[in-house]
């Protein structure tokens, strides 16, 4: 069963994402690959580079800069892993550096329409 781990990091007041070192992330990434559960995963570029597109009923497109982080956390990246059940997915989420220092990981099963 595939699960998406959405990594919400907690930025410091200066806007920097606090907490883990790049080495922590590289170690976690290696663990996920070695365990043979990696489906895909990316880390996202800085929040200030994000852009929002909306299309209204008339088909007009609006482009704005954003998204503005309204919550305390910002989406920093994701993993898709393939593991037997939610408990195993939660174990991996708990090992992810993004779950610490005020950040959190949202774990969502990926729908299976077969």
């Amino acid at each position: 069963m595939k699960y998406l781990l959405l990594i919400n990091a907690s930025p410091t007041p200066s806007g920097e994402v606090e907490g883990c070192t790049p080495a922590d992330w590289m170690a976690f990434d290696q663990e996920v690959r070695d365990a043979g559960i990696m489906v895909s995963g990316e880390s996202l570029a800085d929040l200030v580079t994000a852009t929002v597109v909306k299309v209204d009923a008339a088909g007009h497109r609006t482009v704005t800069d954003g998204p503005f982080a309204e919550t305390r956390e910002v989406l920093g990246g994701f993993y898709v892993i393939d593991v037997p059940d939610l408990d195993v997915a939660l174990d991996w989420a708990a090992r992810c550096p993004g779950s610490r220092d005020g950040g959190n990981i949202v774990v969502r099963p990926i729908a299976d329409f077969d």
């Binding site: 059940d85 408990d87 099963p109």
Partner: protein, 402 residues
Amino acid sequence: MVEQVFREERGRLLAALSRRFGDLDLAEEVTSEAIEIALEKWPIDGVPPKPGAWLMTTARRKAVDRLRRDKTYAARLAVLQVEADLRDPAPASEFPDDRLQLFFTCAHPALPAEDRIALTLRCLAGLTTPEVARAFLVPTATMAKRIVRAKKKIREARIPFRVPSADELPERLPGVLQVTYSIFTEGYAASSGADLQRVDLADEAIRLARILHRLMPTDREVAGLLALMLLIHARRDARTGPDGELVLLDDQDRARWDRTMIEEGRALVLTAITGPPGPYGVQAAIASLHDEAVDVATTDWPQIVALYDVLLALVPSPVVALNRAAALALRDGPEAGLRLIDELADEPLLQTYHPYHLARADLLERLNRRAEAAAAYQRALDSAGTDPERRHVERRLQRLSP
């Protein structure tokens, strides 16, 4: 008698089938079908020698029939089954007791707290959805929706049917115990409604704790929880008067306490507090001291205060602090107790907590500070949840006015 058999077997069947098929809905449907068939056949053919195994075989056959009819569903479950077997080879016994797995699934932290209690009542206590709705005082349709939602999450997020490993257990077991105790406390002191106690719910919680204790006989907190509930429930008949009114500990007719329950609880307390105590074990030890005393005056208050000190270190909550203050008032006098209670005055949790205002009013009355006592009784009246609690406070208010 037959009711009893079905009630007991229903939970075991449901647990075994949920684990086997990874699907609570399917397990519930085929369990009900098997019981229906038994209700038709047994009166004619006689009860089979192994009723549990008979029901299990019938239910399993029904499940296989259903899966044959629905190929996609079957394929999905087959994958689940292979994965589950790989991780956890099937137990040797023909019909093992899988209820512990189901307890942990129903109390999984990924489910909202109220859904955990509802599912446990539905799947392990065997209450029907309307009965669970009544326990929560919500409409049946609301409860049905909530149970469907919880089952959907178990199925689609694939919350596993398993007992957590030894290293996860300290993190997960308190959740299971909490669910059981929440059912009990709602039975012991209903949060609202016409009746003070709901003995059926308290009985149900004790039944669940007995199952847990049978499945985990060496766990001290499980023993502690069962002991605590037995020792409190032993006083149920003395806690209300002839008109359903509240009778406080001082005024209870101790001859009406259930001695058998007290003895059983006391034996369990010994198990619970042999070794470093957990919160339930300590609370059970406190309840045991109350039950052993002949009256309030000769109760071992120094020992109770000492136990509350231990409890407060384990569970630093304002409610525990309030209870400690009340015990201390009985050891050192109302003035000392009131001083501690007033220190808790700013706790947000206690602002609308009925027992807080009642305890404060009581101590003020004992100190003959009548005007302040009346004001505190008024606040107790405002925060009372049930009619007997309200009537109790009204009576005490009347007694105060000259």
